[in-house]
Symmetry: C2
């Protein structure tokens, strides 16, 4: 199976402040435990074209409701993010609190409140500790700096064990354009934009409507193709801010380099999405599922996601068992159309080695011990060939382990 | 919340052979490990009206494909069931094997092959050990007896830790009518008829088409309202055989006692469905979710099922944590329509004590320690009030534990 070659040159130690004109900060206010960073501001020196995709959960959190409104203006200067408390299921008080934070931060930044979006992540159903947060805001504003990217990436974490960042460079109109991103999320991760928090910055000049269009398209094949536990959260959001400071010609639907830019946006998104899965709560193995030869892209995506979401598949892989029966079983209830007589299944790992276990719906006479050996790796691949159409899709997930149960049997999120 | 009072008088130690005219056997052939019963025949002395509901999994097993055909005739004499091997994903060879079993068993029973249905459960993708099974068939036929009900219930088990049986009596037209059932299933349990194997026998005289109609209706609110791990299996089936030996007047859509009979069928089905959940793989707690005040029955059912299926809710309950934020979050992505401003949530356990934690979408000032105490029980109740319509539904599930991961990380199913 050929891998996509992405165009962006990865920048060592790149952060969301690597693109021109972006500063950030991450401080500890006390919402989270001792010393942990929990309040983050991401800020652009110039007004940025802005795009966002939001959770489809009906129990949408207050900051999501507000940010959805803000993004309709297609431009932003910054975003304030707190971790440790989701401000979800907090009713009218939650809305008032979110508005107060927006106003206080906008004032401290000397911008209009409509130029500031919000995001929150953490425990559901507990009112925000407003005094602590309001005290923290001026501190976070004061600490905004070009070096603040790492603190920002750390400050948005909850049960995450590592921060998730990337920055890449491409050339557009002879100018160097940088795209960067940070994300959080290790549980409550499941498709339907509703996956996690993601913040992408770029100094590219991009038309806002076009930016929204390609963000949605890219999200479908990246953030929406990961699953950790099948739960779609109340708060998840991906933002892109494009401040134009690279001084390229505005990227729009007719710019000659639009595809290059979209690929770089996908590169950043896919990197962040995969990082989230790698850091899945209690995960010991990273799983890539590829669904090939389905009637529509939608079918291929649902096939890959359903196999990745099956607790039985996830526990089998945790146990190092190439139990393809469970994979076919989950495919069978996915809703993706296929014919048992044409289905094929191939297992693989992080090496180029693969073993085909099923062809034309029938088990092949493969070496079970070789599959066990293959599955000792931390990187597991499942390739489903439906031979039932032209569409293919990839998705990513992780195994279900004792540690997942441990983390979620005790952490209050 | 008021409990339904069921009409049937439960018969102590009742089995599928308690209704008149039914015999059964369960023997060890060697498909399962040493000594475990793995081949079962259930047989009616007289031709029985027959109804069945089947998995909707596209990777349907060979015995399911054949049984779906047989049930179209609306009558059966018996069913042969093997455990330890699902005969699923076994292609044309699996179909041939299933047909051979059907023919050999019909011959040994001296009935037409079309009067015999089949069911299999166990590992997927491995051909049946036909020599062992074919040798076992005459033995199983020979051992058919009125006392064989318990062996039958044991012989259909896989990872089940207890056998699941019930028999109840009602009076129809002044005649004593008995209904009984046995079921297996402790993993791969999830709605969409596709839950488990269930076999219901009754000596009632019932019109076959009416029997099919009420079985489907009853299944929707019983077997289809349980979930263990969200996986819909390749083999699951519920059969009802009604042989008429109670000599009541034929129950049909205009019989005065039709509702009584339907309630008794529901009683048997609900008992079996709940038994499956209680024996859910690795389960330590039984969870009942009640969704009240949704626009449609469909909405209420999907709401209850989605909350019960959430890994985050399941692990929280394993941890004894009344984490209602996760319950509302899962409700939010269920697809059931509700308004955050009118939602209420109440937690309870096996006692009559309940604690309301959320009202009109807002957290109440309840005693967290009291909820923890409530959740120490093995029986957990979640009551969701949407205040958004007339429809209510109940569903049942279990927690997600270390043992679930252990069982499914090692058992090849």
């Amino acid at each position: 199976m050929k891998e996509v070659i992405y165009p962006g040159k990865e920048i060592v130690n790149g952060t969301v402040t690597t693109p021109k004109g972006f500063v950030a900060s991450g401080i500890h206010t006390g919402v989270k435990e001792e010393g942990q960073l929990d309040l983050v501001i991401l800020f652009s020196e110039k007004e940025a074209a802005a795009a966002g995709v939001f959770t489809q959960n009906l129990a949408m959190a207050a900051p999501v409701i507000i940010s959805k409104e803000m993004i309709k203006n297609h431009h932003l200067r910054g975003i304030i993010i707190n971790s440790g408390n989701a401000n979800a299921c907090t009713g009218s008080r939650g809305m008032e609190d979110a508005k107060k934070i927006q106003e206080a931060t906008a004032k401290a930044l000397n911008i209009k409140k409509d130029d500031l979006a919000l995001a929150s992540t953490g425990v559901i159903g507990v009112p925000l500790p407003m005094d602590i947060i309001l005290k923290g805001i001026p501190v976070a504003v004061e600490q905004l700096s070009k070096e603040g990217g790492k603190d920002a990436a750390e400050g948005i974490m909850t049960t995450d064990t590592i921060n998730k960042e990337i920055a890449v460079e491409i050339e557009v109109d002879g100018k160097t354009v940088t795209l960067a991103g940070m994300a959080k999320g290790s549980g409550m991760i499941h498709p339907n934009m509703a996956t996690m928090l993601g913040f992408i910055t770029t100094d590219a000049d991009v038309e806002a409507e076009y930016l929204q269009e390609i963000l949605q398209e890219v999200t479908e094949s990246t953030f929406n193709m990961i699953t950790v536990d099948g739960d779609t959260s109340t708060n998840d959001t991906v933002f892109v801010l494009a401040n134009g400071m690279a001084e390229n010609m505005t990227i729009n639907a007719s710019h000659p380099d639009r595809k290059l830019f979209k690929m770089a946006l996908k590169q950043v998104s896919e990197h962040l999405a995969k990082s989230i899965v790698r850091d899945g709560e209690g995960a010991s193995k990273f799983i890539e599922a590829e669904a090939v030869g389905f009637p529509t892209l939608q079918d291929a995506r649902i096939a890959a996601r359903t196999v990745l979401s099956s607790n039985l598949v996830k526990t089998a892989i945790f146990g190092g068992d190439g139990n393809w029966g469970r994979m076919i079983c989950s495919l069978g209830y996915s809703g993706a159309p296929f014919n048992m007589d044409t289905i094929a299944l191939t297992l693989g790992n992080g090496t180029s080695e693969t073993i085909k276990v099923l062809d034309k719906g029938l088990p092949l006479d493969y070496d079970e011990a070789a599959v066990e050996k293959l599955f000792e790796d931390k990187y597991i691949r499942i390739i489903i060939e439906a031979n039932n159409g032209p569409a293919s899709a990839k998705g990513w997930g992780c195994d279900l382990t004792y540690d997942y149960v441990k983390i979620n049997g005790s952490y209050r999120s």
